[in-house]
Amino acid sequence: MTAGASASSKERAELGALAALCSLPHMGPARVRALLTGRDAPEAIDQLRAGRAAALAELRSCRGVDETLIATWRRQIASAFEHAAIDGHPVGADLLAAHAREGIWLSVPGRSDAAEIWESDPEPPALLFGQGSVIDPQVRRVGVVGTRRCTAYGRTVAQQLGSGLAAAGVAVVSGLATGIDGIAQRAALDAGGSVIGIVGSGLDQVYPASNRTLWADVARHGTLLSEYPLGRRAAQWQFPARNRIVAALCEVLVVVESGSAGGSMYTVDAAAERDRPVMAVPGPITSAASAGTNRLLAEGCAPVCEVADVLAALGEPGRGDAVPNGLGLPAAPAEPLDQRVLDELSAGPRTLDEMALLTGTSLGELASSLGRLQLSGWASEAGGWWEKAR
């Protein structure tokens, strides 16, 4: 069910009440679900306001709900009812209007076009706020996630996966974070592919701020989703919750780079819980940014060596023909010095001083060599550190 011009007044009342419920602080999907057992949203919110024992009992059975929290909810609902009474609208109508003004649609996952995705989900969101196009269940979806602190190698792989999947007509699902997530989605957008971005704050609360443009581009050319209403600030606990939606929405999850502990590992757990195949990109065993992915491979996860591997796991091996070069390598450097420099970089990031010492060349020659490698995409520099980018 999606709010639109065609929605009946009963549906609108129901959506409004649901939005009002989801706007309450600390009202997560489990608590909303508990409240909605055996009653619809307008009834539920009415009972909560009136303090009916049955509704409260359901809530009290949820973990972490105490009387203070219930009192806060009831206070907020009472004030929402007062405002609604003054305006002469049902509760939550103002919320619906505010979201409609921003071009945001509301969708109840279990009753949307993509309901089948959520059918067997252990923890479906109670309500999704979206911008851009609605999820088309016909389009295949691959999650590309990874660390925020990626290396040059991870950046290259994320870019190639993003553009490769876009070329194969597969949607890239990710969390719009700094690092791998954002890079993959940017590459997919640039290649004209479809993207589904799930964020951990209200759709007007851009986080991280450096991704503002990407955020807007996803909303314009793809689907931007959030579990939270407008105005909800980013909070630490909301990101793992966001990651479970990433895991639920993708059909195959690819981890490009991840430390042994991190948000991506949460997504991996959530994907495993939902029987989504998880794949990992192998990295150097000396790289901290690949510790988690290499561990996944050791535990039996399928490796990703080219885009076709992902497409095969998706059950669409034929689509690989549309992908230009997979994760192909550029031509090997011609100059012998360039090759020597590259060999030194293979062991991990190096500073200019280390390179000068190891290769025994003058700074000028070394600079020329690194410049050539950078332009041909073999090496990249960040903060004075040189890395092999492929």
Partner: protein
Amino acid sequence: MLATATTATLVGVDGHVVTVEVHTSNGLPSFTIVGLPDAACREARDRVRAAVLSSGLDWPDSRVTVNLAPSGLRKGGAVLDVAMAVAVLAVTEQVPAESLRGKAFLGELGLDGAVRGTAGVLPLTDALRDDAVVVASEAYHVALAASPRDVHPVRTLGELASVLAGRAPWPDPPPVPPQPSPVPVPDLSDVIGQPSARRAVEVAAAGGHHLLMLGPPGAGKTMLARRLVGLLPALSRQCAMEATRVQSAAGLPLPTGLATRPLLRSPHHTATVTALIGGGTNAIRPGEISLAHRGVLFLDELGEFAPSVLDAMRQPLEEGVVRVSRALGTCSFPTRFLLVAAMNPCPCGQAGRPNSCRCSDLVRQRYLRRLSGPLLDRFDLRIQVRPPDPDQLLDGIRGEPTVAVASRVAAARERAASRGVEANVELTGEQLEHFAPLTPAAHAALRERLRGGLLSGRGLHRVRCVALTLCDLAGDEPLVDAERLDEALMLRASVGNLHAPVAAGAAP
């Protein structure tokens, strides 16, 4: 009865001539100073009276009025003491009034009659138009540096009175202090390994390019900055005058008269805008950026300076002069200095290899955001300083000494001088086009980098300028080839992740 004596007072770093008029008349004995004296100047009443009496001279038993003309100018400090005293001696006919003519008097008096030096002797002497200047013995060499006129050093007021009365000749000047050794310590040979840092320091000294060093604590950033000063050539007479003027006005010790070596100023990061730029409540004093004029301003822990303080430096950095306006008036201070800054790449300082820093993204971004883009743009050289390689440290092989590098720097500076500038950093775009043409290969390489988003149009000019300095250091023809350009680009590394994602994202 009336007598006058000439002296000068300091406003900013400029001297202004002041005429001291002393008038005695009948009435209750008193001593009044009029003509906008500040607190230190008003206290001269007690110092002058005590000094005259301690010197065995007589104080008039009448009403004494001192006027400091022009009366609209605010007079500060104790430098007018001696002029007041000799004018009082003249009005009481203890010295002949004619003996004061054609002379100016600069100095503070002690209660025992001793004549002491004050801040600003050089600009004050410079401002005077009299044939002879009488100064304290200790300020003799500074005053002599200012003008070729007669400078007479005196130690006490009694001595001065005897000379003016014609009872004694002028005392002999104090001996010339030994010049500082031409090779300054500390020496660059103490820096072991670290080729890129050594190179950057050399290029900074040769071309006058501002230098930003990023590195963890203990990597040797401060050590490098201290050695950079030693690489700079001795100041020319003109530059030395400009620098000494400011240093003298600020009351810095100038034992040899003219400051012939560039000065290193390293203010602490708690410095305020006023301390760095100049200003003050009672008098407008030059700030650290002016004290470092023709020298080096070293800002350690750049990230800890208040952003407002750093941004205040932008305009003086560009224009070479800062105008400080206060209720007291407006002063211009020269600010041509070499800016050397050091900072940690992030608050934890341990951001060694990529992905090893433990600071959160937010903390790191906040730290780097304190440096505004425009300020960062002023640094032509930005390098990462890593601790030296342990093997090299233990090998005990010392680096190239300061003397060898300094001679290359001096040669490069001579080339710059032949282009009509002090250092290459002052060259304009047109001059660069004329003095340092690009080879076709370099042209192509630059175009590629501009296209690839690895270089901004603004950075282009600076990179060419550094490349020219590299040519000068090598003693080559000033033709910029691709290798020099690459090295210049290398010495202009991205800072933290402030610029990196843009550049890296643009790479194919």
